[in-house]
């Protein structure tokens, strides 16, 4: 049994500020207990809809930033998708918000001052800046590759330009940076900066592509995945994906407590949404009765 390294807490926080950032909404919430425990890569889960809501499951959001103001605030960035995010987009300063966090396993940081490429897709970029900060504090070099469908969906380009040695932007419609996807430019960036490690957060197809590139260059890659979650604390078993363990056995592991950060090459991206036949406990699989 793996212990989650940080004990999450539930807090009823007050919304401090709300802002729009291009296509995204950002909420800063006073949540001292969460801010104090935060490490880069952590996420929070948020109750949505108010007292008489019909939307019962929490919504997961990566923590974009924590600040010491008011004993500790956390900020997350989101796009409106369904009823939960629509409701969040209507929050105003001084409203209260029920958060649980910090959740998940954060990004592991290298001991040595290596060169790191941080790859972000859509709102996935929001997670990368605290990682960049932590890396730079350890003397690492940080380069960014950020992409999205269009300019208004590339999150944090300015901040990346301020923080990164280099920043490469891509959009699918060519409205900002290079036309194409992050995976189109990533090999060039890795080669140029002689990257030692890749950190990535974004949609699953992007993570698969980024992992493939890193594997080709034979450098480690840490990806933060996104799976449909109901609880965020490891009790509902809805957020699983096939991941290869240290022992070489594929298990359906919970991305909320065993992830969301995984070593990219361990995630069987092609088999996400299936139970691979060789996974531990797969129906009729050879691994039946394996403890």
């Amino acid at each position: 049994m793996r212990e989650t390294p940080v004990t999450p807490v539930q807090v009823t926080g007050t919304v401090l500020t709300t802002r729009r950032v291009d296509a995204y909404h950002a909420l800063t919430v006073v949540a001292p207990g969460i801010a104090e425990r935060f490490r880069p890569g952590h996420f929070v889960s948020v109750a949505v809809g108010g007292a008489q809501t019909s939307t019962l499951t929490r919504r997961a959001f990566s923590i974009h930033d924590v600040k010491p103001d008011y004993s500790g605030t956390v900020e997350f960035v989101f796009t409106v998708r369904g009823p939960g995010t629509a409701w969040l987009a209507e929050r105003r300063a001084r409203d209260t918000l029920d958060l649980v966090g910090p959740l998940g396993r954060p990004f592991p940081l290298p001991r040595d001052p290596v060169t790191c490429v941080l790859v972000g897709g859509e709102y996935g970029s929001a997670t990368l800046f605290t990682v960049a900060d932590a890396l730079q504090q350890r003397g690492c070099r940080v380069d960014f590759v950020l992409g999205a469908a269009s300019a208004d969906r590339v999150f944090g380009a300015l901040r990346a330009r301020r923080m990164g040695e280099t920043t490469t932007l891509t959009t699918e419609d060519g409205s900002l940076g290079l036309r194409g996807r992050v995976t189109d430019v990533l090999p060039g960036v890795i080669a140029d900066v002689r990257a030692d490690v890749v950190y990535a957060c974004g949609p699953m197809p992007m993570l698969r592509g980024v992992t493939a590139v890193a594997v080709e260059f034979d450098i480690p890659v840490q990806v933060a995945v996104e799976e449909r979650m109901a609880c965020g604390i490891g009790v509902c078993m809805t957020c699983v994906l096939p991941v290869i363990g240290d022992d070489g056995v594929t298990r359906m592991v919970r991305s909320c407590v065993e992830g969301p950060v995984f070593r990219g090459e361990r995630v069987r991206f092609d088999d996400v949404g299936t139970i691979p036949f060789d996974a531990l406990g797969a129906p009729g699989g050879g691994s039946r009765n394996v403890g």
Partner: protein
């Protein structure tokens, strides 16, 4: 405001009636991060199977109005790993544990029960009857009184006499009372209801079922009216049988509703996903409600809504006609 919250499942005393529902508290350690598991009545494990199971493909979850659908497929480590790691972890911490078991044949349930017989730390065994019977074209045991009774009788026959066997019933039946009666006749010491009714939702963007498994179990407040009705009907028909009530309990009021209908233990499932502290909060709210209404003992509230129209509450409490 001191209410005697003790309750009984057969001869097993629980310090209070609030427990976790099967499959909603993983191995226990996840919730232990948030609170001391010893403070709740019991922890119910996920349904333990013989072999490890990888479960169903994702998506396994879809939100529905005031509820959710799940199709986990009993993912779990199998009984060996459970007995080696999960049960001892709970036993060491003296957590009262209801072990849920799931199987595809009567023989498999029986074999599981046999494995549990000598394991320390098993407070009760809950038989999850909502599993497909592979010997009856995959028809779920719980939908058939005779098949359910056969499983229960066999499990009862191998379990230690002092470990109550609880039959967990499904609402997807024509007549829940007849299945309940069959289980009690088969030897069930207590009944647990309701398991998830079968539901489905369709992703109208993709124009496909939302769940990879197509159908899934519905849980959450949406099903509470079904749970209250099942508990009510079964308690009316079998007033002496302890009932673990569950289905959409979010608050102390909801737990109280099931208790008034006839449950002496209340399990919390989906609410845990929303609020990791749900059990403790519900327990506190329930105790406050009972105190506010002048109850000295939880037991006096069990099934109280069944009293005849004229009868007052006092009357019932004074005569100590509790159904426990």
């Amino acid at each position: 405001m001191s209410v005697d919250m003790r309750t009984y499942l057969g001869h097993v005393e629980l310090v209070n009636p609030i427990i976790t529902a099967a499959g909603c508290a993983a191995s226990g350690s996840e919730l232990a991060q948030f609170f001391d598991l010893g403070r709740i009545g019991a922890l119910t494990t996920r349904s333990i199977t013989m072999a490890p199971r990888a479960g169903r493909p994702t998506p396994r979850m879809a939100e529905t109005p005031s509820g959710m659908l799940n199709a986990i497929g009993l993912q779990g480590p199998g009984v060996d790993a459970f007995l080696e790691r999960e049960l001892p972890w709970l036993a060491q911490r003296s957590v009262r544990t209801v072990v849920s078991i799931g199987g595809g044949t009567v023989a498999e349930y029986t074999a599981l029960a046999r494995r549990l017989t000598d394991a320390p730390g098993v407070s009760a065994v809950e038989v999850n009857l909502s599993c497909p019977n592979i010997e009856d074209r995959g028809r779920v045991f719980a939908r058939d009184g005779a098949a359910s009774a056969e499983v229960i009788a066999s499990v009862r026959s191998v379990m230690r006499y002092d470990v109550p066997v609880v039959a967990k019933l499904s609402p997807d039946v024509m007549d829940v009372v007849s299945v309940a009666r069959a289980c009690v006749d088969g030897g069930a010491d207590a009944l647990s209801m309701i398991n998830n009714p079968l539901g489905m939702s369709i992703d109208t963007e993709a124009m496909r079922p939302s769940l990879a498994a197509v159908t899934g179990g519905l849980s959450g407040p949406a099903i509470r009216p079904l749970a209250v009705r099942c508990v009510w009907q079964v308690h009316a028909a079998l007033p002496g049988v302890p009932i673990i009530g569950m289905g959409g309990v979010l608050t102390g009021r909801d737990a109280f509703e099931l208790i008034l209908a006839g449950a002496c233990v209340v399990a919390v499932g989906t609410a845990l996903f929303h609020d990791p502290y749900a059990c403790l909060r519900i327990l506190r709210e329930l105790e406050e409600l009972l105190a506010a209404r002048g109850f000295h003992r939880l037991a006096d509230a069990v099934g109280l809504a069944h009293r005849p129209p004229g009868a007052s509450t006092r009357h019932r409490i004074d005569l100590e006609e509790s159904s426990l």
